[in-house]
């Protein structure tokens, strides 16, 4: 059901800026803003009970039973005004504590209280009890206790965030997010929503039952497959049962509802929940509800993807519209209800990890636009409506990302930029050319490549055909320090690196550069080893029947996520943070130390040790050396070479899931804790100062030639070799006033994507407003900024993070 673009051109004119959210949405929105969030242990309580009862059974069966126990027993509720139902927590705006990524000792519970979460003393006692039980399922000691001295030094260094405190507790702190599915959360993947919507879960159950009876026990893995299928049936039945609980509740509420309009709505909810997700969805509304139930089962996960939502939902929308079952306004209201539902999914993590993804980070990414499998423009009426829903209800979540290709209609770009202009940072723009080129290079057939979606903030996924299960935040600037210090990590003093020689003894830049590359390879190998160990532990402890079934050939294969190799095998990633600081540092060292010889090696080391104190003159010279981000070949060639080198090293490091590690560049907000762990660097940066944000972005204030100059640098880098390459540009609203201004930004985006650019997103907010918000946070409770791949409420970010955002270059279109 593909609409031609000429039809879809008519859509944006339907709405004007005067159209606002309905009273229902306004009321639902108001309930999102609470001062303190309740923590809930209902889910863990039922999980613990189920686990204790299933001791000795196969792991995947225990997991299915624990899911079923939660879904059968967790308290449920329907809020006033809701049209889509299903809560991810037992409490409104609550979040459910989890134990799979670490435990919750007393100091962490205290930390949560300080961060605004309510926990009763009684709950605290229960949490401490559960810690004792879940210790045996804690993955951290398994990794830490068996680690070699070298690996332990690496974990402790924090080169992959956050630093480990002890071999048994890792970085400390667990994980909490609303959502009723099974962990772990940080999988970058898109399940096959279409199967669930189009076939219904009963069809999957019946398929699983047939396969179970047909198992040939002559096969070596027959028993594992049988366990998998049994677990799948248990889980899918539990999900249907959960929907039926909502149907019952809606019916009960309808019976006592005085308001006839609301009574009718509750009756409709009851009918819909009896129907889906058990059966195929027939209407847009049923599809929305079915989608949401499935989504609740793939969360808690901050990186759960909503897939190519406009593609698989539009057929329901257009059919309803044609039959007169639904108006555009009603569809818009449902799309806004979905935004509300996603906002209700709360999330936090342990203290140490909280910094690296600030502001209640999550990346529930809905991808729209792009091309169809056959290469046509995929824009449809729903593509526009999704953007209109963001315009009317500009909440931080869910994220919307627009795929841009050569034939993306200009009215769609305009619509998207009108939403950007409001300051939500949404949608992010990604270039089909570079994403598809990456996939083709990985051996993915063209039709499949064209169907890509996004997992997490920007990483490529194939719906049902890939899953990333290991990704870290690797602080490259710490490798530079270790090279300057002959293999010693500055932060810990441990000799975890190679002995590549004293910096003072290098005769040429090439020798020094070679030493840096050797250190980088060495540390990336340690990172890859850590990834593989985590994957193997995760595979043993945390098989997830639900997500596994919702993958391509899930039942036919009869294997869990981490027991398969997928079409795109990007199970393990190597992700860089602070690479641009390293590039700028190497460029400055090359120019000033080895070429112009204006400073000796010893002098530089002293100045860095002293954090430039007393050597402001020297710092100024290093600041004035050529910098990435200005289109200057002298600086950019090192960036080009290092990005290629990183991709080469990744390709040489195997993943235990099959294939090699994949290179990616998503800093999220790790530039801040990463910077805090790095001393002064030769790019003129002070010790502890935040690193460059993004991957393609320049260091703050070092790009002096505007967005085109910055893009000229970024376009030289082989971004096609990367899964993702984050690129933030901050625009002052003055550069986005008229339609003509928006058209120029559209050209800017198109030019960047036509020449290898992968991603660009815009922060549109004035410096003055941000400073004002820092002073009077209470007046700016809903001020949104784009942090990195997600939007956050500015006032919820720490002061340092706020300062960093204020400090980013504001590109003002000159006039």
């Amino acid at each position: 059901m593909i609409t031609t673009s000429s039809q879809s051109l008519q859509k944006p004119s339907t709405f004007t800026a005067a159209d606002e959210m309905s009273p229902r949405i306004r009321r639902l929105k108001e309930r999102l803003y609470v001062d303190r969030y309740p923590l809930s242990i209902e889910k863990s309580r039922w999980q613990t009970q189920a686990y204790k009862a299933s001791d000795g059974e196969p792991q995947i069966i225990r997991r299915a039973k624990s899911l079923a126990c939660v879904l059968d027993n967790i308290p449920i509720f329907i809020e006033d005004d809701e049209l889509i139902v299903g809560q991810g927590s037992a409490k409104p705006m609550g979040l459910e504590l989890d134990f799979y990524a670490g435990l919750w000792p007393r100091d962490e519970i205290e930390g949560l209280r300080e961060a605004g979460y309510d926990i009763s003393p009684q709950e605290e006692t229960e949490i401490l009890d559960m810690n004792a039980y879940w210790q045996k399922f804690n993955p951290l000691p398994r990794l830490g206790e068996d680690a070699s001295e070298e690996m332990w030094g690496f974990l402790k260094s924090g080169m992959v965030l956050p630093p480990w405190k002890s071999r048994t507790d890792g970085p400390g702190g667990g994980y909490a997010e609303s959502g009723l599915g099974l962990g772990p959360g940080f999988y970058l993947m898109t399940v096959d929503f279409e199967v669930a919507l189009q076939q219904g879960l009963l069809a999957l159950i019946s398929d699983a039952e047939k396969r179970l009876t047909a198992i040939e026990y002559a096969e070596k893995d027959a028993l594992e497959r049988a366990h998998f299928l049994k677990a799948a049936i248990l889980s899918l039945r539990a999900i249907i049962g959960f929907a039926e609980r909502y149907a019952d509740l809606a019916q009960t509420m309808a019976a006592v509802e005085a308001d006839p309009a609301r009574r009718a709505e509750l009756e409709a909810i009851a009918q819909i929940c009896r129907r889906v997700p058990a059966h195929p969805a027939r209407t847009f509304r049923e599809a929305m509800q079915s989608f949401w139930f499935i989504f609740l089962m793939i969360t808690p996960s901050p990186t759960a993807s909503m897939g190519r939502f406009d593609q698989f939902m539009n057929p329901y929308f257009e059919a309803d519209l044609a039959n007169g079952r639904l108006s555009e306004e009603e569809a818009l209201e449902l799309l806004q209800c979905l935004r509300i539902k996603d906002m209700q999914l709360n999330r936090t993590s342990g203290k140490a990890a909280r910094q690296k993804n600030a502001g209640m980070a999550k990346w529930h990414n809905m991808v729209i636009g792009g091309v169809t499998k056959s290469g046509e423009d995929a824009t449809n009426p729903l593509t526009y409506l999704i953007l209109e829903a963001v315009r009317r209800l500009p909440t931080a979540h869910h994220t919307v990302t627009l795929r841009v290709h050569d034939g993306t209609p200009e009215p769609l770009m305009k619509k998207a930029l009108e939403v950007v202009k409001m300051g939500t940072g949404m949608p992010a723009f990604i270039g089909d050319r570079s994403y598809i080129a990456y996939l083709l290079d990985q051996g993915v057939p063209l039709e499949e490549a064209r169907n890509y979606a996004i997992g997490g903030c920007l990483d490529v996924t194939l719906p049902g055909k890939s899953r990333t299960a290991a990704v870290g935040m690797f602080i490259v600037s710490m490798v530079l320090e270790a090279t300057l210090l002959n293999g010693v990590v500055r932060r810990t003093g441990d000799a975890v690196g190679l002995s590549t020689g004293k910096f003072e003894d290098f005769k040429t830049f090439d020798d020094f550069y070679a030493a840096f590359k050797a250190q980088l390879r060495h540390f990336l190998k340690l990172h890859a080893d850590k990834n593989n160990a985590e994957l193997l532990i995760s595979r043993e402890l945390f098989p997830d029947p639900v997500r596994s079934v919702l993958m391509d050939g899930g039942l036919a294969e009869g294997k869990a996520l981490l027991d398969r190799t997928y079409l795109l095998e990007n199970g393990a990633l190597l992700n860089m943070v602070g690479m641009i600081n390293v590039v700028d540092s190497l460029v400055a060292v090359k120019k000033l130390v080895f070429e112009d010889r204006v400073v000796s090696q010893a002098e530089l080391i002293q100045a860095l040790d002293a954090n430039w104190q007393g050597r402001e003159d020297l710092r100024r010279r290093f600041l004035e050396a050529p910098k990435y981000g200005n289109g200057d070949d002298y600086a950019d060639q090192i960036a080009v070479d290092l990005f290629d080198y990183w991709a080469d090293v990744a390709a040489s490091l195997r993943s235990c899931l099959g294939g090699a590690h994949k290179p990616t560049g998503i800093s999220v907000s790790s530039q801040w804790p990463g910077g805090a762990q790095t001393g002064a660097t030769p790019d003129g940066r002070f010790a502890g100062e935040c690193l460059a944000d993004g991957t393609m972005s320049a260091m703050r204030g070092r790009d002096l030639k505007g967005p085109t100059g910055l893009m000229n640098s970024a376009m030289k880098i082989s971004q096609n070799r990367y899964q993702a390459a984050l690129f933030n540009i901050k625009f002052h609203p003055s550069a986005m006033q008229s339609d003509e201004d928006l058209r120029k930004i559209s050209f800017l985006i198109r030019t960047y994507f036509a020449r290898g650019g992968k991603h660009v997103q815009f922060n549109v907010v004035s410096r003055e407003i941000l400073l004002e918000a820092q002073k009077h946070p209470e007046q700016y409770r809903d001020l949104l900024v784009r942090v990195a791949g997600y939007s956050a409420y500015f006032i919820q970010l720490g002061k340092a993070m706020q300062d960093e955002i204020i400090g980013r270059t504001a590109h003002t279109g000159a006039g």
Binding site: T708, L748, R750
Partner: protein, 328 residues
Amino acid sequence: MNRSPTSLVDTVGAGAAAPAACADRGVAGSIFNIQRYSIHDGPGIRTTVFFKKCRLRCLWCQNPESQQEQPELFFNAEKCIGCGRCEKVCPEGAITLRDGRSWTDRARCTGAGACVEVCPQGARSLMGRVASVDDIFQEVSEDAIFYQESGGGVTLSGGDPLAQPEFALAILKRCKEAGYHTTLDTCGFASWHAVETIMPYVDLVLYDFKHMDPDKHKQYTGFSNEPILRNAKGIHHELKVPMRARYAVIPGYNDGVENATALADFIANELDRSIPVDLLPFHKYGGAKYQRLERVDELADTSPPSEAALTALRDIFLSRGLTAKVGG
């Protein structure tokens, strides 16, 4: 005066001295900024080259650092710690120390810039530099791919590019050879010879009208508007270069109904109704520049025009059948 048959440098108006230094510089000139991603100076994504030097001295000039041809010192007194390093290196002996800060005798300052180099605080900077046509062409070419996609190109602004006509001509020729769209932002105060030589290389003129009354024009800018209006007619009727009219609205100086009506009538009757008009409201960003130049800002007490006033002025143009909008 000084005019040679090949020189585009000429005098217009009474009493203006010929800028002899410019004639023999050939393919180099004086600029104070190259602004990339310039989006309000013509179609598409552009690079704007800001020329130093302007013959007019508009009281409300928003780019006062552009008026002189030679580099000018920007001084940020708040940053100065009075260390005296600048005093020691000034070749003209123009700097003295007093009250814990440095003072520059502007009459003696030649813009040599030695003080800028040694200032540890970054309190001193130089506005303006000599650049060759090659340098400029190289920088504007960096964004060539963005011009292609967006229908953009290169804009010469200032100052007034026509105050360095040979330099402007050389840049424009190079840009046209490379296929870039060219825009010239000018007040039109130049000899007809310069105008007719340069215009074949210009795709769009942004033409600034200061005031319609010759005496007021002289009072506010130093010169009569007579050559400006004559050149505007010539550019439109003889040379047929597409034009946009620009009217910087300065409260108390040129925002009267009478002046706006005269301008609207001039464009509609003497030029053409197809010429769009941009009303550019006076803003206060220029004030800080006067401080840094240690000059008096004559319009320190002037406020930007109100929306209502701008709308009323715009309507005068609309009533003459012109297209007009507020903002560039």
